[in-house]
Amino acid sequence: MADLKKLNESIISGDLDTSVQITKEALAEKTDPQEIIQKYMIPAMDVIGGKFERNEVFVPELLMAARAMKGSLDLIRPLLAERGIEPQGRVIIGTVKGDLHDIGKNLVASMLEGSGFEVDNLGVDVPSDKIVAAVQSKKIDIVALSALLTTTMPSMKGVIEALKEAGVRDKVKVIVGGPAVTQEFCDQIGADGYSENANGAVDLVRKLLAS
């Protein structure tokens, strides 16, 4: 029997090889892929995310865990697709026009992906029209925007305006983050949510999708 408790532990400790090994065993034994994700993998990301938020671990540990999680997910995803099981939500994420910083944004993307969301990472320096086009062309629930610089934060407002102009603002929830971004700024530009860190972003997306 595949040791699924150990799968949970190996994701928390960022052990990619063990995570992949156990996932393969579990799938070979015809364990329900949904159960593997919901009962063992997502709770692991919740644990490491909580540790990150409490500063018990830092970026390297979070990235290692996310990588182990992704290694397992890559094996499971095709099976979910075969069975027509939908992801928990669909997210597009990007650093706004004029801003080339991608570490924080990638951290949020990894955490969301590891928590069961389908994440399309559009990269850095992403123009508004690219985001609008993505929202128009496929089913998207959440648009996540990142900016490190105060000089590029106004581009977040630009994205929201562009979504309005294209008539698709109500189709999605827009969330924002970055070192100088605050709840006040989020409210000012008419975004739907803000989180201070990558773990908080997961909770925020869950909350927004439930509402």
């Binding site: 540990e61 990235l63 080339l100 991608d102 105060t150 590029t152 106004p154 100088a180």
Partner: protein, 299 residues
Amino acid sequence: MRTTGIQELLKSRSLLFCDGAWGTIFQSAGLKPGESSELWNRDKRKKVLEVAQSYVDLGVDMIETNSFGGNRITLAGSGLENDAAELNRIAAEISREAAGDKCLVLGSVGPTGKILMMGDVSENEMYDAFAEQVHALKQGGADAICIETMTALDEAELAVKAAVENTDLEIVCTFTFAKTVGGDYKTVMGVTPAQMAEKMLSAGASIIGTNCGNGIEAMIPVVKAFRSFNEDVPLLVQANAGVPKIENGKTVFPETPDEMVSHVPDLIDAGVSIIGGCCGTTPAHIIAIMINNGIIPAL
């Protein structure tokens, strides 16, 4: 008179001063979001020289160069990777022109923006990028290399190593720390001041310190942490003027020169050796600190 270096200066004076921010001043002068400030070295040399000159004229002991994002990995984001050597060389030439023999020039080297463990770049690529940058900064006339705003030990170690192996200059290295939930200070990668000091000194840095962060007050406990690890190493602190906010569409840094000055005595008590500024600071901040410490007479 030109001296041989920072450590030489510190033999006769216990407190030295360096410049404040450049990038945020360029933003006020029209640098657009996404525009590479290093490109200004070639295209708007006069504006860069003006900023350098504004700090030299204060009588500081050292100024930096406009090359923070000048490694080829970062420049690739603006399609300028093949201009890296040229832009760094000019950066040092501009600061040298402003400094003359009056003050030292520290060649600024910032992080690449990549995390080694993610595998986006290899150790060799990162080393080569830093080696190219420090070599060009030396060619342009830098007296020292200032590896700054680092958070990861592996990346900073490669940068220091590249400076040791490709130049004969003094090496300064600063990390950016933030207060954790537990109350101590670590980088986002989880590095403590003591860990940083140990690794960077053994890699070949002779001056260490901290920059950016959350304003000058938060630098005091970091300096104390460094000092409890090592009593003698020269410590550089370049605080930003607090965490920026957007007010009426404009970026505002909350700390005034007077507020910065008010924390300097505690910073000196903690054991700082060199004081300068980071994002949001201006010549006005630096001059206020210098006046307050009797370096230059009040107007």
